[in-house]
């Protein structure tokens, strides 16, 4: 019965390359194998000389690494660190001074910039939806080099897109400035309160 089980397992693991055998054995040693794999490997270690030798070899390496000692710094190390930190204070946690609203406003600022740029670029294409039956997609002229030469830059700051885009940017800028000034004011008031206390 035991022999039949062994033959069955050996058949399943027969195609294993030496690397795969090693991987299976490392998993077994680290306790990462599934229960089914574990019992199969146990049988192979007992019955198959190749698996047995490889297992012994890896187990030695594992034991040696497990027993290896950590390197130690000089005797004065702790003292040096303590002397160094004596004049320092623990910094406040990052989450206390990073305001999520500021991050969101900055994100909105960049998204608006990207969106504005995309709208402006798309506005430069000559969309000629001729309604031809050959294609559902509008035809556009991709000869950008020629278009850039033809482009009248003086019109840029008079276009509706640019004006709206600039307006949004100015509003966002003012919001950010307001948030910054509010924060400064709050910090100033807190500092005054602490002094009075």
């Amino acid at each position: 019965m035991k022999y039949v089980r062994y033959k069955e397992i050996e058949k399943n693991f027969f195609m294993d390359t030496p690397i795969q055998i090693e991987e299976r054995l490392w998993d077994y040693i680290d306790g990462l194998s599934s229960p089914a794999e574990r019992s199969a490997i146990e049988v192979l270690i007992t019955e198959n000389i190749e698996w047995q030798n490889k297992y012994k070899e890896l187990l030695h390496v594992h034991q040696m690494m497990d027993a290896a000692e950590l390197a130690a710094p000089s005797m004065r190390f702790t003292k040096n660190v303590m002397e160094e930190i004596a004049r320092l204070h623990v910094a406040p946690a990052t989450k206390t001074y990073i305001n999520k609203n500021i991050i969101r406003t900055i994100g909105a600022f960049f998204l608006t910039m990207i969106a504005g740029f995309l709208v402006f670029c798309l506005g430069q294409f000559k969309w000629s939806g001729s309604g031809s039956s050959s294609s559902f997609l509008p035809r556009y002229d991709l000869n950008l080099d020629t278009k850039m030469k033809e482009f009248n830059w003086s019109k840029l700051f008079n276009s509706g897109y640019t004006n709206i885009f600039m307006l949004v940017l100015v509003i966002l800028g003012l919001v950010m400035l307001d948030m910054y000034l509010q924060r400064r004011k709050q910090q100033h008031l807190e500092a005054q309160g602490n002094k009075e206390a």
Partner: protein
């Protein structure tokens, strides 16, 4: 590695309450771990000590950011890794891929060092440490984290930005390379150990 007494979380909460002296206990507890990890990046003990000291100072400064969601050693390792990379950048060493093995020249120097020393007199621990030092910094750190840092594959993956399964594969490869190095440079000792 860990000493009895207050837990890491208890020590940290005392330090955050202003009792700075408790930080010495944390340093005592993790100095060997940090120093060994740093030594995987640099060969110089002086440099390693300087970087390790800097790591503990940084850890103290940002202790309020430790939220206790992971082990303190896991959090500390993130500082170790960034500090070591910064140090190597400052030194203008080639760190474009820390996955690559150290340069041939470094290996050659080490090999000549081994023959000059009488390896027979070295303990098994020293032999393993020497073999680990022959690996790439990433392989060496991975092995140190797994065996000495008491870190699970998931925890290592978290700090290295990798999937646990990728860490497992990397660990397999690192151990395979370590075994090769041991067979190449310490075959006599390995045979002796296996014959025990």
């Amino acid at each position: 590695m860990l000493q009895p007494g207050l837990t890491d979380t208890e020590l940290i909460s005392k330090i955050l309450q202003g009792e700075q002296s408790f930080f010495a206990q944390l340093v005592e507890r993790y100095q060997n771990y940090v120093f060994t990890l740093v030594l995987r990046f640099t060969d110089s003990r002086e440099d390693a000590e300087e970087i390790s000291q800097d790591i503990f100072v940084k850890a103290y400064r940002s202790l309020a950011d430790f939220r206790g969601e992971s082990k303190f050693s896991t959090w500390l390792y993130t500082i170790v890794r960034t500090s070591c990379i910064t140090f190597l950048r400052k030194k203008k060493l080639d760190i474009t891929s820390i996955d690559n093995e150290r340069t041939f020249l470094q290996l050659e120097n080490r090999e000549s060092g081994f023959t000059a020393n009488s390896i027979e007199q070295k303990s098994r621990h020293a032999m393993v440490n020497e073999a680990i030092r022959l690996l790439s910094p990433d392989d060496a750190q991975l092995i140190t984290l797994f065996y000495k840092g008491e870190q699970s594959l998931e925890e290592i993956g978290k700090v290295m930005g990798l999937e646990a399964n990728t860490v497992k594969v990397k660990l397999h490869r690192a151990r395979h390379r370590l075994k090769e190095k041991m067979e190449k440079y310490f075959s006599h000792e390995v045979r002796e150990i296996q014959g025990d």
